[in-house]
Amino acid sequence: MAVEILDMVGMKCPQPVLKIAVKATEMNPGDILEVVGDCPTFERDVRVWCQRLKKTFLSILDEGAGRKRIQILFE
């Protein structure tokens, strides 16, 4: 099990989602991908992505100034 961090601060949608999609190919079952972004639709996009691709939206931390840190669990 590994935790991978993907910093996408400054990226506008839909770049974060596409980044996550590419990164997802490297993830193994049990791995956690932690993504950070400040795009206004970042949270919503990640949630939809997790829902569509059957990934677990594990947690979200609002770090202020629009920055949000989200953990995604790969099963």
């Binding site: 949608c13 996550i20 999609a21 997802a24 206004p40 639709t41 939809v48």
Partner: protein, 854 residues
């Protein structure tokens, strides 16, 4: 007031709605809302400037007017100042509203620029501009929101597709794009992707199945290849060996390490360079044939094994789809050697069968299954024609029934005679062969066939018959000689005794008176003595053999004299129902002999013929010239030559074969005792003919009459009285050159003598080929051409060859035979004169005369 003017008059203004138009004081500029010159009416300063420059104003100016104008200006200025103040306040309010509104719009645009499409502004404002700006911001945010949503939708779809394709790429062929989208393109994309995955999955499934099948197949092949009794190799397109099975190694001793590739294999397998080049050439030749995938073209080569042993190998090559060569190696050394032995054996057998003198046959279902060369030679049919032919076609018709019946019964299982003789018929339909057949039934290639050997025993049979006949003749001749000697001895003594019996009665009768009673008995004694003397004379004829006096005799005259003699008259009186006819050849050649004996011979034959016809009949006495060109087999064997023949035939009872054997023996008679015959008649005939170096042919059958033909060699000596000078003159020649072509020296001499006598110049040549050669360098007026010349080309072929370079060459054809097709062929070529042998001076003279005259 009267000097004041109205502005409408002055300017010819027709604007009736202008307040100045109907004013009486004419102070137009003082009146609000005048329409003067239209421009500047709303602008206080401009209007004042207009009025101050107006000619009418200047015209009408006076104090009152000035006051009134100033008052008007003061009022209007006041109003203008108030209005300006109000406008300042208004502008202040607008500025504030503008600043607030723009601030809101700026903030909103800032958020939008940050990527937030959810910004919305309150669109209320006193300033339309601000309202419009806010509306535009909101519309922009909304549009941007839609675009973001769409982008997100695409991104999500793309992400899902990416994820699914990634899973597929890692082998998860159950992965499918699940998400639904309102975007038609994404839905289609999903359908295509999922379909592609399904197709890929099916393809992979299929390939996996194929792979599994291939694995099974390969496993089977491996099992087969490793356990196959034949060598197997698989060679890659780069000519290296991909596989060599254990049998290959066992067969040749070579491992894959020994022969990594084809060139190495060739060097080791065919160490002899010449043979290797031959092998390579053979492979090259066959490569074209094996180029097509799946085709097998076996070739056979001798391979050198690792231990130096050589083996004969049958190669089978198949080109596989991947370009590899699948080659099989079958060791056929033993078969090849066996085949070689078999071939040698077959050659021996074939040589033996084809060179033995006896025919060898196999018959199945009445047809020849096999025949050898000897059988073909025997029957005249080529081997190919005999194979399949009904065997009965080569059996002589007279024996077909017996042979076919035996064959049928043998086939039916009956115990039929296996060795027998039968006659065969040659292809020419004429020649008969006698064959000794030995047949049996055998199993041949699992079929029941008749095998047989056929030995041509024609010559042996003929030789046997010949020997038998010769023995019989020898015996007969010895017997005749012995009896002749005995008879001669007896006759000599009896002649002395009889001289008294014949002579004394004549003396006694001269001394006796005519009425003496002894005269009658003495006459009887005399006649008996004379009859006894005649018998003795016959005995002496037999005894005197070979010493007869030879003179030139005309048989016709001898016959005629006999037929006119008292003896013949007496004979006829004894046989009144017998008629005698003579058929004498006009140009009969003379013979050399004893007229007395010949006459006696004729008498004896005619007498015997008459005796043979107790019920009457006809006797024909005939003479003719005969040229015997080929040996005649009869009672005697008549050799080649010219003969004058005397034939006596009757229609009598005939003679049995047994009697024929003894008919010429002395004292053998079938006649009634005491009536006639001494038993010496035919013996005298036989002796006379032999004394004249002649031959007897006797043909008879019981009830069919008898024909006796005597052959006497001719002579060309003439009787003095027979020469007819005047007739010879009519066909005399005049020195013309005649070429005589005949294989018989005697004939050439005879013709030469006759033609010289007739005044011709004669050249003689013994054969056709020599004659053709002679005529290439010489010219002759006429050829006398013998038809049958053996050996060598015959008269027809000779004339054909001569006519090829001497067309129209005159010729006379001569033959001892009757006219044949070949003679007729010659006649078609223009040789019209046909001269039958034996020659007479007159016949040959006339024929030449006629031909030369043409």
């Amino acid at each position: 007031m009267s000097d004041k003017i109205k502005c409408n008059d002055f300017f010819d203004c027709t604007k009736e709605d202008c307040p100045a138009y109907g004013s009486e004081n004419a102070n137009c500029w003082l009146i609000d809302d005048t329409r003067c010159r239209d421009a500047g009416q709303d602008n206080f300063l401009a209007k004042a400037d207009l009025c101050l420059k107006c000619p009418v104003f200047k015209k009408n100016m006076d104090q009152d007017a000035m006051e009134a104008s100033c008052a008007m200006l003061a009022r209007q200025f006041t109003e203008a100042r108030r209005a300006l103040h109000e406008r300042d306040r208004e502008l202040e309010s607008i500025s504030m509203e503008m600043a607030i509104g723009l601030s809101e719009v700026f903030e909103a645009l800032k958020l939008i620029a940050a990527g937030d499409p959810h910004v919305r502004l309150n669109e209320d404002s006193s300033l339309e501009l601000i309202v419009k700006l806010k509306q535009m911001v909101n519309r922009t945010a909304e549009n941007m929101g839609e675009m973001v949503d769409m982008t997100h939708e695409f991104a999500m779809g793309l992400a899902e597709h990416f994820d699914v394709l990634h899973r597929v790429s890692t082998g998860d062929l159950d992965a499918r794009v699940q998400g639904e989208s309102a975007v038609e393109l994404l839905e289609s994309f999903k359908t295509v992707t999922n379909r592609m995955i399904v197709s890929v999955k099916e393809e992979i499934d299929h390939r996996q199945q194929v792979t599994r099948d291939l694995q099974v197949s390969e496993e089977r092949f491996r099992t087969f290849a490793e356990n196959a009794p034949i060598g197997i190799t698989i060679m890659k397109p780069d000519l290296t060996f991909a596989f060599i099975n254990p049998t290959f190694t066992k067969m040749f001793g070579y491992t894959r390490a020994d022969i990594p590739d084809k060139p190495t294999w060739f060097k080791k397998a065919y160490p002899d360079k010449a043979y290797r080049e031959k092998a390579i050439a053979k492979w090259e030749t066959y490569r074209g044939k094996t180029a097509r995938i799946g085709e097998v073209q076996p070739i056979t080569l001798e391979v050198c094994c690792k231990d130096g042993l050589k083996k004969t190998i049958s190669f089978g090559t198949v080109v596989m789809e991947n370009g590899r060569h699948f080659v099989t190696y079958t060791d056929i050394t033993r078969q090849a050697r066996a085949q070689e032995v078999l071939k040698e054996s077959e050659e021996k057998y074939r040589t033996l069968i084809d060179n033995i003198q006896d025919g060898v046959i196999l018959i199945e279902k009445n047809r020849f299954l096999f025949v050898n060369e000897a059988m073909a030679r025997m029957t005249g049919y080529p081997v190919a024609e005999l194979i399949g032919m009904d065997f009965s076609r080569v059996i002589a018709p007279e024996d077909v029934q017996v042979v076919v019946d035996r064959y049928r019964r043998r086939q039916a299982g009956e115990d039929v005679k296996r060795n027998y003789e039968c006659r065969l018929q040659h292809k020419d339909g004429q020649t008969r062969l006698t064959a000794s057949i030995h047949v049996g039934i055998i199993s041949y290639q699992n079929r029941v066939v008749t095998i047989g050997t056929v030995k041509d025993i024609t010559d042996r049979k003929m030789a046997q018959q010949e020997r038998r006949k010769m023995a019989e003749k020898l015996q007969r001749s010895k017997k005749m000689e012995a009896i002749g000697t005995l008879a001669g001895g007896v006759a000599h003594d009896l002649n002395n005794i009889l001289s008294g019996i014949v002579s004394y009665p004549e003396l006694l009768l001269m001394d006796l008176p005519d009425d003496s009673p002894l005269k009658g008995p003495i006459l009887t004694i005399q006649k008996s003595g004379e009859r006894a003397a005649a018998i003795v004379q016959d005995l002496l004829t037999l005894a005197r053999r070979g010493v007869a006096t030879m003179v030139t005799v005309d048989l016709n005259r001898t016959v005629t004299e006999y037929l006119e003699s008292p003896e013949f008259t007496k004979l006829v009186s004894f046989h009144p129902r017998v008629t005698v006819e003579s058929r004498l050849s006009d140009d009969l050649l003379n013979v050399s002999g004893s007229p007395v004996h010949l006459s006696k011979t004729i008498m004896n034959l005619v007498s015997n013929a008459a005796e043979a016809m107790p019920e009457g009949g006809k006797i024909i006495v005939s003479t003719e010239n005969r040229y015997v060109e080929r040996f005649i087999k009869g009672y005697d064997e008549v050799i080649e030559g010219e003969y004058a023949t005397l034939t006596v035939s009757d229609t009598g009872v005939g003679i049995s074969p047994k009697d024929i054997e003894q008919i010429f023996e002395p004292f053998y008679t079938k006649k009634v005792m005491g009536r006639s015959g001494t038993g010496l008649g035919m013996a005298v005939v036989w002796g006379t003919v032999k004394d004249h170096k002649g031959y007897i042919d006797l043909r008879s059958g019981e009830g069919e009459g008898t024909t006796v033909t005597l052959y006497f060699p001719v002579t060309r000596n003439h009787l003095p009285e027979q020469t007819d000078k005047s007739s010879v003159d009519s066909f005399m020649g005049n020195g013309q050159c005649i070429l005589v072509v005949d294989d018989m020296p005697e004939q050439r001499e005879i013709v030469s003598a006759i033609l010289n006598r007739l005044g011709y110049t004669v050249v003689t040549i013994s054969g056709g080929e020599a004659a053709v050669d002679y005529l290439k360098d010489h010219t002759v007026d006429l050829m006398v051409l013998d038809m049958i010349m053996d050996p060598g080309i015959d008269g027809l072929e000779t004339y054909r060859r001569v006519a090829a370079f001497k067309p129209g060459q005159k010729a006379v054809i001569a033959s001892g035979f009757s006219e044949t097709e070949r003679v007729r062929s010659l006649q078609r070529l223009g040789v019209n004169e046909y001269l039958k042998k034996p020659y007479t001076l007159e016949k040959i003279g006339l024929a030449i005369k006629r031909t030369l005259a043409d």
